[in-house]
Amino acid sequence: MSTSRSRPKKTDRIIYRRPLSLVDRPTHFCPGCGHGTAHKLIAEVLDTLKIREKTIGVAPVGCAVMAYYYLNCDISEAAHGRTPAVATGIKRCLPDRIVFSYQGDGDLAAIGMAETIHAANRGENITVVFVNNSVYGMTGGQMAPTTLNGQKTATSPCGRDSRSMGTPIRICELLNTLDSPWHIERVALDGPAGIRKARKALLTAFKGQMEGKGYSLIEILSPCPIHMRLTPRDAVRFIKEGMIPAFPLGVFRKEGKPVT
């Protein structure tokens, strides 16, 4: 089946185009993976706020390490988990730039937990984008700090057993015990409505940083079908039926105050 394409006519109204902050190239992400969507949402927010040329991103170790292939802004890699420390160094040296870290659940909630908590506690004026897909992707589907109870992974082959492996760590709730963060919100890439909410959350966070409000973290529940051994559709269902009950959505911290 072929689709005919033509250049837009002058009278056509363009209702969507690739954000300038997104590089026009195919991603290396697996089919059904949420990273591409999360990248695009960040790109849209950079466009909306017109901050692409003053933004510096910090990419994690994990599937999103190659963010510099897709996001059209300055980006540094960081050692595994040290992403908020690198972002801190950048922001303190260039306080008028916009600095964000982009981290997976292993990077942020396992190896980088100390850096995560202390950057939040210092109230660093940075934005942390936390992609939680409940599993290590790049290394082949091992158990993450956010793996659900009973969830089978390469390193919890009989399912995560809370008696010896702990239970899923809820980062938003944990960070919300601190006094310093300005905005903490959890969203889910579980459909068009969820994606729109995620964009809005990112917009709030980046805008807050521009205004010098302080630390923001947006946790994005995201599908990882390949390592969950699910179809893309079932991976989205897993978010709705498995992850959201364990990781409730919503705004936890607003304008520097816990939301009750």
Partner: protein, 358 residues
């Protein structure tokens, strides 16, 4: 004498960093370098610069990483166990060719060890320390004045070679006080840093990365690094010589051990022994050629260290069979006695002596 001040070595490094234009300092408490972190906590904000007490040495070195990718000068300091924690970060800095300054005020090891002075981190500092094929430039001061001066040099060298520079010193030099003349010049000129991350305004985005999944690309990156190290080896070797002109026995020592060795050399001369001292100032690159040259002229070489004999291996590599090599060292925070060094020099000077003691 009005332009001299009395300072301890750790403070002298801190003041040197500020005068060298260090924009950001990140540290974590550990003895015997705490004076430096405190000095920076007090004085960096006074100059409108950045000070953060990090949550760990690991975080501190990665904050340095973030600071230097913006093109600003940055430093961290620690002591032996903390420097072990920074090794991953040093590997990343070297891989991405980022200029940074790291100070190791060494203490007794291994493990938690103690807080007495030591030189047992020589291997770690000069052979890489972290993973992968890389080198730090390693400077070894032996006085409070040099702690100060070498810090200025360290920032200049880091920028010149786009490479992390380590100042390898010890708890004694860090904590003792000596008069020194403070650097009065302008900060060393910073070269243009078109690679730095400042926001992609009117240019293509810059990326700081060390991940190169394609084997060819990573090998090429390694070849570039090795070519740079070769240049450093050719350009940067630094050492100091004392009474080596007619020396028949040669002491080789760096840092505070060199001060002890110098005292022993003076005592040996007073006894009519033609002793001399070579003091490496750059531990990497190591003054191998000069040591080889001197080895051909002397009856014996004595290496003095506060370790089990680490620099000794580099001396052995340089000397080969040209001269016998003896070693005088103490471990675990102990300091070699001048009298023991003298005895070892006298022993080397005996005409009947054959073969190396070590």
């Amino acid at each position: 004498m009005h332009n001299r001040v009395l300072m301890n070595g750790n403070d002298a490094i801190g003041e040197g960093a500020i005068r060298a234009g260090c924009h950001a300092y990140f540290g974590y408490p550990i003895t015997p370098q705490n004076e430096l972190t405190s000095y920076m906590a007090k004085h960096m904000p006074e100059h409108g610069r950045v000070f953060i007490q990090a949550e760990s040495e690991v975080a501190a070195i990665n904050m340095v990483f973030g600071a230097v990718v913006t093109g600003k000068r940055a430093m961290t300091s620690s002591s032996s166990p903390g420097i072990s924690l920074k090794q991953e970060g040093l590997s990343y800095l070297a891989a991405a060719e980022l200029p940074a300054v790291v100070v190791n005020v060494q203490r007794g090891g291994p493990g938690l060890g103690n807080i007495a002075p030591s030189q047992a981190d020589y291997f770690q500092a000069t052979k890489g320390g972290g993973h992968g094929d890389y080198h730090l430039i390693v400077l070894a001061p032996n006085s409070v004045q040099e702690m100060h001066d070498f810090t200025i040099d360290a920032f200049a060298l880091a920028d010149r070679y786009r490479n992390p520079v380590m100042i390898l010193t010890d708890g004694r030099l860090g904590q003792m006080m000596e008069p020194l003349v403070l650097y009065k010049g302008a900060p060393p000129k910073s070269p243009p840093k078109p690679w730095s991350l400042t926001g992609a305004r009117n240019r293509k985005p810059n990326h700081i990365r060390s991940l190169l999944l394609e084997v060819d690309a990573l090998e090429e990156r390694n070849l570039i690094l090795q070519a740079k190290y070769k240049t450093i080896l050719a350009e940067l070797v630094g050492f100091d010589e004392y009474l080596t002109q007619d020396a028949q026995v040669l002491a080789i020592a760096y840092g505070s051990s060199a001060r002890i060795a110098k005292g022993a050399v003076d005592q040996a001369r007073a006894k009519g022994i033609k002793a001399g001292l070579l003091r490496p100032i750059t531990l990497w690159p190591f003054p191998r050629a000069r040591i080889r040259q001197l080895a051909a002229k002397v009856k014996g070489i004595l290496v003095v260290e506060m370790s089990a004999g680490q620099m000794l291996e580099d001396v052995q590599l340089a000397v080969g069979e040209r001269s016998p090599i003896a070693f005088e060292g103490r471990m675990g925070g102990a300091v070699p006695e001048e009298s023991d060094v003298l005895t070892a020099l006298q022993h080397l000077n005996k005409p009947t002596r054959k073969g190396a003691r070590s």
